[in-house]
Symmetry: C2
Subunit: 598 residues, 2 copies
């Protein structure tokens, strides 16, 4: 059975020494997040993930969820108990508003815990994860009454949440939504229609489920400008705020799917269900989008999380499995063969994944801090700059971390040879589970389009220019630092490729938008690689500082960072040139064929 | 349900116009393979695959194989009937020796049919596929008696075959094999031990199963030099050659695995089973390796096959699914949205897969022809040269076509959005099935090592130099051909990258073999890309010739080839530089860490 150990030390190094979060003591929540508190929280979260959630991952996958004839859904054995434990420790409300029972700690810490949970048991983590998304939407767009009704229960975890966007004929293109809302005259609406792919749509973990539903109010304008957001509770809260009358929403079936079997993916039928408007009429998409940033970061984290747990198991296997001899001569002469970690091609796989994971974790935390600054800083300029950067990097984190996370899970599985294909070893589950993260919350092609079509040109390119400015200053300030040259120079080269690609879009895509679409996925990965390289340069600098400070008790830890960062620069980053070359060829060839000629 | 249409026209174009097989009329089997005969065979094979095998693919995956308490195994519903149909048409013996009932046609045609079968139903195709491998081993290494006993039954398909190499503690490193063989004194041996991951190890399709088993004769030298090959029939043939006494070999369990559920992957227990030596004592590995070339090509074909069928379905979906509007303005104004094939990023995915599939098919056929020349040509020089090229390209076809085939199945699945993750749409099965091809018959890392460690230096680099010579001459002869410049120049650049990488190994890996291991996977892909580019250049030339000949009835077909080839050069081939850059960094960084530092 696969195992998992949460990367507590690595995360603490990133928070304390690389990103230096003590700098943000003036931002609400951060003052409470002292190094000791953060360590204690991470250790407690790690324990729960390692001891309670991870052991249910494989059994949950095998058993899956069961829908009964009455529409109720049972989660796999052990999930209800684990959920209760999870909720009792207050994990759902870690970063939530203290006015409704939350702990008010930085969102950044919630992102850390989300990674641990997703590594331990991705399907489990989606239940509280979707609740957190729904909390964010109600917090930002709900009325005071709605907040008072829903937030305390959801933050406590006794009620859970869902997001209902997709319909059979529309996923990406939400303008096509048909689910309708008819006013009842008392401020409520009758919601009717069918939603599909609703994660955690029905289950036995909570006493109530709060559905956030996109629908079209009768007579609303066509397209995305006529979509509103509604809250539709499974049980309508009674006067005391407890679950009351059963609402007209039910689970019609659960999907048989490739992975995340322990999470119920439901077809939800709304049959004149009572719902209440959240936010403004016809502005539902905007409300949904504000919660999407966080949700997309969460999915990016799932990509990293599967990459991390797959790596840990592949590493253990590579140290244990005896097969063949080192090319440079036998290493374990007392054994019938050497452990396969002696082979360069095995190390190549491990280093690829390791070098990605550690920088991806830094990038997630760096971006999560921007989220905290945006949401909590009183300084408008600072908040705006943080929002710009988070907006720019959210599609990159979602797209790149899930693409690479899946790829890494596949290559970790590969190290097991035939055993990787066999269910009992658990590696193929990581691959199947990781696969969904490339698809949901906006398929990665849509992330790339969001980046290139919306985030790049927004506000005259302010966000990407700020990114170039920041990286440029970093590089310039360190140009004479010999000890950092192996990191800074490749970063500079990558940023130049990214700038060239950005310029190419400016010169070629304004008049011919297909040129942007044709290069969007490559651009997303090019920006992702550059951002990861920027993280490695910062990690290397922090490691050098610690070594210079005489951190002799932990020197190996920092020296390993330096080697891993160098690997990233040598072996991963050269891909930026290929991305630039592809982008620069434009759209002509791929648009040349008639659909029938394919 | 997914569908499949065999690419008959594309294959005929490759055989007749690009590879011009009529040139080989002097080689046994080819004279019979006239254009009309080839077309008839391909059409008949296509019909079987489309109408009989493809409809059983999804149901076979869902039902899987069942092992009963007595050790017998039942294949999914419909498989026995399909197998009988398959066998009655003589497909197993298409290229087999006419002395034993085969049709003696070129192996190249068998490779075509293998692609069609693997696209239609990969798990089904493994049953006859393994039989073909076993036929090849007995044909090459068996005694006349063994040939007379086994080949007619196996070629007729009434008996099937298996390969038994892997044991729980050894996959790649066959020197560790423990299964033992004790002479009975009458020329036979008692075989005892356990083999795992035995595809088609037990099933209900044939009246007998012929196991080829690697084992160590008592007192044999340690390591790979003490391994012998044995034939161990499930039922020992009686004096009339019919299945007689039940032998001491049985299926202990079947593996629960990620995909190819309809193929029984068995743990096989040998308990003093009677076996007979095939070939020479202690030279079993060599005998196994001769059949491995063909088996590895077959697995490479599986990669292409999954890529092809996944592409066909993704293409159909992309033309049908309405979502969003073209960046350049609405295309289907009468519909609520445009079909997603209008979006450049969707086309990017389709073109990536299409550009790979068509060149990969050409490469398979080009290499299969080398196999035929090697096996059948009377001219020793010609045969040797063909064997060199086939030896060089076999690991490339296995490694690159399965890596890319899987990647392509994943990206085709991606075009379905959420539906791609749902079992009923069938796309996730292609991904799960394609995954095994990267692992079995030597994991792809082993293919890369075989290429760099064995095939490159063999005979002083004769094979790779012949490849450079051939590509160089092709490029040189066409350097003034304006119409081909868009293909020839990128090919020249790719070949230069490949030459630089080869030189780098010569200069850096002789004294430090880890430098070869560290670059092996990149080199395999670099050679693969160059070979595929060479195929595209030949395809483009053939298309130009046809267009110049006034093939006006089919001009769109050839023009599409020209566009697709250009796409390959612009968007796929730039990767060669990144491969070269990675190779040139050597092994130092990835070997720097102690195992415990990972």
């Amino acid at each position: 059975m696969p195992t998992y150990k949460a990367p507590v030390d690595d995360t603490l190094f990133l928070l304390n020494d690389v990103l230096k979060i003590e700098r943000y003591g003036n931002i609400p929540g951060f003052a409470d997040a002292t190094p000791d508190v953060v360590r204690a929280i991470l250790q407690e979260g790690a324990k729960l993930c390692e001891d309670v959630l991870a052991p249910l991952n494989q059994s949950g996958d095998r058993e899956g969820c069961t829908r009964h004839d009455d529409g109720s859904v049972t989660t796999p054995e052990g999930f209800k108990g684990a959920y209760d434990t999870f909720v009792e420790s207050g994990w759902i409300g870690l970063a939530a508003d203290p006015n409704y029972g939350g702990q008010g700690l930085p969102y950044t810490l919630a992102a850390v815990i989300n990674e641990f949970v997703s590594s331990a048991n991705m399907a489990f983590g989606m239940y509280p994860g979707l609740t957190q998304g729904a909390i964010a939407a109600i917090q930002l767009h709900g009325t005071d009454d709605q907040k008072a009704t829903y937030l305390p229960k959801m933050i406590a975890g006794t009620w859970s949440g869902t997001m209902n966007l997709t319909e059979p004929h529309c996923g990406t293109d939400l303008g096509l939504i048909k689910t309708k809302a008819v006013p009842n005259g008392d401020g409520s609406y009758k919601i009717s229609g069918q939603k599909i792919f609703i994660s955690a749509g029905e289950h036995d973990l909570t006493e109530n489920i709060v559905h956030l539903v996109l629908a079209r109010i009768e007579g609303a304008p066509e397209g995305v400008k006529g979509i509103s957001l509604f809250v539709v509770p499974k049980f309508v809260p009674d006067a005391d705020g407890n679950p009351g009358e059963r609402n007209g929403v039910s689970c019609g079936s659960i999907e048989e799917k490739m992975g995340i079997h322990a999470n119920a993916t439901c077809v939800m039928n709304y049959d004149e269900a009572t719902g209440w408007l959240v936010g403004t009429e016809h502005k539902g998409l905007r409300a949904m989008f504000t919660m999407m940033n966080e949700a997309r970061l969460g999915v990016g984290i799932q990509g990293l999380a599967q990459s991390e747990v797959a790596y840990q198991n592949a590493l253990a296997y590579a140290k244990e499995r005896l097969q063949g001899r080192a090319l440079s001569g036998a290493q374990a002469e007392d054994k019938p063969a050497d452990p396969i970690i002696v082979h360069p091609d095995v190390r190549r796989v491990l280093m690829n994944v390791k070098a990605f994971n550690e920088a991806a974790r830094a990038l997630v935390l760096w971006t999560a801090i921007k989220g905290d600054i945006h949401a909590r800083s009183g300084d408008e300029t600072e908040s705006q700059a943080a929002d710009d950067m988070m907006g720019l990097l959210t599609p990159v984190i979602k797209g790149v971390l899930t693409d690479k996370g899946f790829e890494n899970a596949v290559s970790a599985q590969q190290l097991y040879g035939g055993h990787g294909y066999i269910a009992e070893w658990g590696m193929e589950q990581f691959v199947r589970d990781a696969r969904i993260a490339m698809i949901y919350e906006g398929a990665n092609g849509i992330q790339a389009l969001d980046l290139v079509g919306r985030k790049l040109p927004k506000d005259g390119g302010r966000a990407i220019m700020a990114f170039f400015q920041e990286v440029g200053t970093f590089v310039e300030d360190r140009k004479d630092d010999e000890a950092l040259a192996a990191y800074v120079e490749p970063l500079k080269k990558a940023a130049e490729d990214l700038q060239a690609a950005t310029m190419w879009f400016m010169n070629n895509a304004m008049t011919k938008p297909n040129n942007a679409g044709a290069g969007s996925t490559d651009y997303m990965h090019l920006l992702g690689l550059t951002a990861l390289a920027y993280m490695w340069a910062q990690i290397a600098e922090a490691a050098n500082e610690k070594l210079a400070d005489g951190a002799s008790d932990n020197a190996a830890f920092y020296e390993t960072k330096l080697v891993t960062g160098r690997y990233f620069m040598e072996r991963v980053l050269p891909e930026t040139s290929a991305h630039l070359a592809r982008i620069s060829t434009g759209a002509d060839t791929m648009m040349a064929l008639d659909a029938e000629a394919f």
